[in-house]
């Protein structure tokens, strides 16, 4: 007759975990009620190819693992509007965790980002061009 109690405790644990997780989730400030579509700046025709390549790099490198654009990807670090907030140099600095901005992120994040310096100039420029379109 002890088994029903054990079963109840296990189920109760599961329900409490669900409830507590939901409760805590509401406590986090949502930064990610993302816009339905990202407003993008009109791109000069000459840059189109580079921006397209940048979008490819973004997808290939799995940037969506940590960032979202227009609600797609990891909602914790949305990139919507980043092109309006940051200039090309700053975009590059943030992308590769450059010393200028490294103290504004965790050490782990900086180390991870510094790995992207290996992408090479062409890909990084393309990525920055793509990010600049996010307004």
């Amino acid at each position: 007759m002890r088994e029903p109690w054990a079963r109840r405790l296990a189920i109760l644990t599961g329900v409490l975990v669900l409830g507590l997780s939901a409760l805590i989730a509401t406590r986090f400030e949502a930064s990610a009620d993302a816009p339905a579509a990202a407003a993008t700046r009109p791109v000069p025709a000459a840059d189109l190819e580079q921006v397209a390549r940048g979008a490819e790099v973004f997808a290939r490198e799995g940037c969506a693992g940590c960032h979202s654009i227009a609600g797609d990807g990891n909602p914790r670090n949305p990139l919507d509007g980043v092109g309006a907030r940051l200039g090309a140099d700053e975009l590059l600095h943030w992308t590769v965790g450059a010393p200028e901005v490294a103290d504004r992120m965790s050490r782990r994040t900086a180390m991870m980002k510094q790995g992207y310096a290996d992408l090479g100039e062409t890909d990084l420029d393309a990525l920055v061009a793509f990010l600049a379109t996010l307004r």
Binding site: R2, V17, S106
Partner: protein
């Protein structure tokens, strides 16, 4: 509920919930919207529940004693399924709401910590399916035991790696340390169960001194301690017995102790029921044995003030009951006791002569209940049900303590019948046999 069981219950709840609550302390990381944070928290919670499994099955005698370790294993089985469902929900929410986050299934392009998480989920799934359906899948017990431990340990390690690799919530040293300490605690538990405990067993070897055939395909295996003073236990408890194998091999099986405490010699009564037990009669004398025990709270000594004891036993359930009967006889107990002993026919009732002899020494009424009695059988027939119990038990039966041991249907029927007879459930004690 006793104080110690309440204490351990609180320890359990703390192990599940404190890791989750720690995430809420201090500076919260930037949120990702309800579904994102909900999903992540479920992942953390699922992992801490999986970690708790290692504490549940580490056989800590003090923590398991108030509940009975059989119940702890039963709980382990349930809780693991629920923890796994939470982890699946974590995965499902990310997959459906944030399909781009995972970086693809291909381990060559996905981040290593995502691959670690995915492999962990698959391994946990394999562990759960192979445990819930071990018998239909025809997985042999020893092999299952080995792989169960290995795969779940690897899955836990991969889950920790997944969390550490992708952890956004562990944004402060305190949170990181709490989770690291927790992961270390789980690792130490694994090391304790796989290395320390076998090592302790190795230092306390036993040897087989008698292999005796009883009725009903049952064998008595007696062991004596080599170079140490043996084991103290309560009558009715059980131990994990390992015969002729190193304790590191984890080829051990839980068996009830059938002898009475107080002697150096320990006797197990083992019925031929499976791969291992079918060969039990061929155990050579002098073979080395290791005993991990005692465990379980199925014992008259946990209820010493009862007006008398009623034992309801069937088949293999006779072993712990024999231990308790032999103990009562050795103590020349003066209270009235009853034994309802269910068998197919009288000839396969193990220990029948000895039980008769004990009934001659103490006030024990033995009621054999046969499902296939011979035509001239005068005694009870069928199962140990309400009518059988009512015919033999006295009117003040709520003052007695009841020990029910045998196949699950027999236990269920006895519990139902006793309840119908007005016996409080707190006086009915049973043991869950099928731990695997």
């Amino acid at each position: 509920m006793t104080r110690s069981s309440l204490t351990w219950l609180l320890v359990y709840l703390a192990l599940v919930f404190v890791p989750l609550l720690v995430l809420m302390t201090g500076d919260l990381p930037r949120g990702g919207g309800f579904w994102w944070d909900f999903s992540m928290l479920l992942g953390y919670a699922g992992l801490s529940m999986m970690g708790v499994q290692f504490a549940l099955t580490a056989r800590f005698r003090r923590a398991t004693a108030p509940f009975g370790i059989d119940l702890i294993y039963y709980f382990h089985r349930y809780l693991a399924v629920i923890g796994f469902l939470l982890i699946l929900l974590h995965v499902a929410i990310v997959a459906v709401v944030f399909p781009q986050v995972g970086g693809g299934l291909d381990p060559r392009s996905a981040p290593w910590y995502m691959t670690a998480g995915r492999v962990a989920v698959v391994l946990f799934g394999v562990v759960i399916v192979s445990s819930l359906w071990r018998k239909p899948l025809r997985i042999e017990y020893d092999a299952w035991r080995l792989w169960h431990g290995l795969l779940s340990s690897v899955a836990l390690l991969l889950s920790v790696a997944h969390v550490v690799g992708s952890a956004h919530y562990l944004n402060e040293p305190l949170k990181r340390w709490v989770w690291m300490a927790l992961a270390l605690f789980w690792l130490l538990l694994i090391a304790h169960v796989r290395l320390v405990r076998p090592w302790l067993s190795l230092r306390r070897p036993w040897r087989v001194v008698e292999v005796r055939k009883e009725a009903g395909r049952t064998w008595s295996i007696a062991v004596e301690p080599t170079g140490h003073d043996g084991m103290d236990f309560h009558p009715g408890q059980f131990a994990w017995l390992s015969l002729g194998r190193s304790p590191y091999a984890l080829k051990e099986h839980p068996f009830s102790i059938a002898s009475a405490p107080g002697a150096r010699r320990l006797e197990f009564a083992i019925k031929e029921l499976g791969d291992f037990t079918n060969r039990i009669g061929q155990t050579p004398l002098d073979q080395v044995a290791y005993v991990d025990g005692p465990y379980g709270n199925f014992s008259i000594d946990r209820h010493p003030r009862a007006a008398g004891y009623v034992f309801i036993a069937g088949g293999v359930g006779a072993a712990p009951v024999m231990s308790m009967l032999r103990t009562l006889a050795a103590r020349s107990d003066t209270r009235r006791h009853w034994l309802f002993y269910g068998n197919r026919v009288l000839e396969i009732a193990a220990f029948r002569e000895e039980i008769q002899a004990i009934a001659g020494r103490i006030r024990l009424e033995v009621v054999h209940v046969l499902t296939e009695p011979p035509p001239d059988w005068q005694g009870e027939r069928g199962f140990v049900d309400r009518e059988v119990l009512m015919r033999h038990l006295p009117a003040d039966r709520s003052e007695l303590d009841y020990f029910v041991c045998g196949p699950t249907p027999m236990i269920r029927l006895a519990e139902r019948s006793l309840r119908a007879l007005g016996v409080p459930l707190s006086r009915v004690h049973s043991e869950i046999f099928d731990l695997a």
